[in-house]
Symmetry: C2
Subunit: 319 residues, 2 copies
């Protein structure tokens, strides 16, 4: 049987990424444990060793995550940093990685050299060993898949799952405009993630890969509403710049572009945002903003300018 079809209704495009992942999890059934042990968090957690082990996998695909406009070292950096960002999002420490390369025969040796060299440079900087891989032929293009292994920095790992009603919502850096330029110069928030992992008042965390509008609901506790202050959203310069030609507002770009690789996390509602940010600023130059709160579903809005996130749609793969 051919794996492919001309009927859209029978194809994975009819499901879209989110539903597809739900279906895959269902098909795997008891072979797939619940997150954070299994599918559904930034990394999977493998226990049974003194420290929990972290595993994450992400590819870069020609035409999807990079193209001729970005240099080979940019594609390599992006592959490494996408994975590192997932380790950062659990407050973990990276240890090792393997790279599976599937490529057409006409790949330039020179391009591939720069690609691996840039991965090697980052691996040395972050003390990650590249311990294995695979090389295979595919008819068209290039798909490079990295699996990165890490471990809990302390005993504690920050999953997506433990936010509470009334928790404050913080986001690092500024958002938007990234995917439009095949974002590859970002710095994963590794030290920030590890620091947050040690703070008891931080309840849950993830990185933003498909845009805040699509990603943030994964942190949302049951029985709550995501109440964001529109004015508080940290909009990047790129988002403003692209807005001039895209016909969309800078805010739309900030909420939906994806590939920000910033951290978003939930902090106990008893914390004063100002104090938390002051403490943060003693350690990091990275921008930090309190953008809102997980309020009880029918609570009165804490903001005059409450933003309805459902009006925005983050990046959908496979549509």
């Amino acid at each position: 049987m051919s794996p492919f079809t001309r009927q859209r209704s029978r194809s994975v495009a009819a499901l879209g990424e989110q539903k597809l992942i739900t279906e895959i999890t269902r098909w795997l059934g008891s072979a797939s444990p619940k997150p954070p042990r299994g599918i559904g968090d930034d990394c999977a957690v493998l226990s049974g060793t003194p420290r929990d082990q972290l595993i994450t996998v992400d590819p870069v695909i020609y035409g999807e995550h990079f193209d001729d406009r970005i240099p080979a070292r940019g594609a390599g950096a992006k592959l490494f940093n996408r994975n590192l960002s997932d380790i950062a999002a659990m407050g973990g420490r990276p240890r090792a990685a393997v790279i599976a390369l599937a490529t057409a025969k006409n790949l330039k040796i020179e391009w591939l050299r720069d690609f691996y060299r840039s991965i090697a440079n980052l691996a040395r900087r972050y003390n990650v060993l590249i311990i294995g891989g695979d090389v295979a032929h595919q008819a068209e293009g290039l798909t490079a898949t990295m699996t990165m292994l890490g471990e809990a920095k302390k005993k504690r790992l920050l999953s997506r799952k433990n936010a509470k009603a009334d928790d404050l919502i913080f986001v690092t850096g500024k958002l938007g405009g990234s995917r439009l330029e095949w974002h590859w110069k970002f710095t994963p928030r590794l030290e920030e993630g590890q620091w947050l992992g040690k703070r008891a008042e931080v309840h849950a965390m993830m990185d933003i890969s498909d845009g805040l509008a699509k990603d943030l609901p994964a942190l949302q506790p049951k029985g709550t509403r995501i109440a964001l202050s529109e004015d508080a959203i940290p909009v990047s310069k790129s988002a403003k710049q692209y807005s001039e030609t895209s016909g969309e507002s800078p805010l739309v770009h900030a909420l939906t572009d994806g590939e920000d690789y910033e951290l978003v996390f939930a902090v106990s509602g008893r914390t004063k945002p100002k104090d938390f940010i002051q403490e943060w600023n003693r350690h990091f130059k990275t921008h930090l903003t309190c953008i809102g709160r997980f309020v009880k579903s029918r609570a009165v809005s804490p903001f005059d300018d409450e933003l309805d996130l459902k009006r925005f749609h983050g990046f959908e793969h496979l549509r």
Copy 2:
């Protein structure tokens, strides 16, 4: 810069797989430790935990490892079993896996369901947890990459590196004909590998993925010659069958087809082949053959029918 070129001399095809892997290892430099810690064995070994951890990565690619002639469950089984075979080849125990799926939008949902279900069935059978993955779009075809994690069954892992001069060479099962039918019904030699890992007289081991002629030199100790007895090579029925139409001898198929996923291993020269096989037969129904010996380079041949493996070429990817 485009990653691709029309000039064959500048492309990875000019290198071929083996040289490409050597180049990649060079490009990675100090970021890549020596095998078995790094690139060059069936699995990479990650230490720092009470038991050494094993990591291996292998894809299945549409048109390369499967096509319309094999069912979705066959492609899934092949992906799982290719990886499991690498764990088996180190004498390890599998623990968990992640799957990165890159696919065109027109992939059939039904096909993908059967693909994941067959992986789940095997995962349950071998007690492997599917703990994570990724879904991404690519323009054409399907590339599914599995990373499998395992651990040493005992303290000892069998790498490719410790064979000695005069060691006997054994191979499990029968060889050849597999790649021609997109081999997917094979059973990885997991229990066999674990049993061999516990035997002190077994010095080194690997699985056969690209054909004995190409793979066996990886076990060969320095200063030795691979002396095989032509008559001893266990030729499969498929190899004989394909020989009728291929114009090649069954022996050529047995030595070069690849995708056998049998184990080949080196046993102390002081062992009597007959005794070892007798002991083996008490545990396994799997066929076992002593096919030769790593003799000192200029030693007189122990066989009347010594086979020169260099006359044969195993499967070369990317050529």
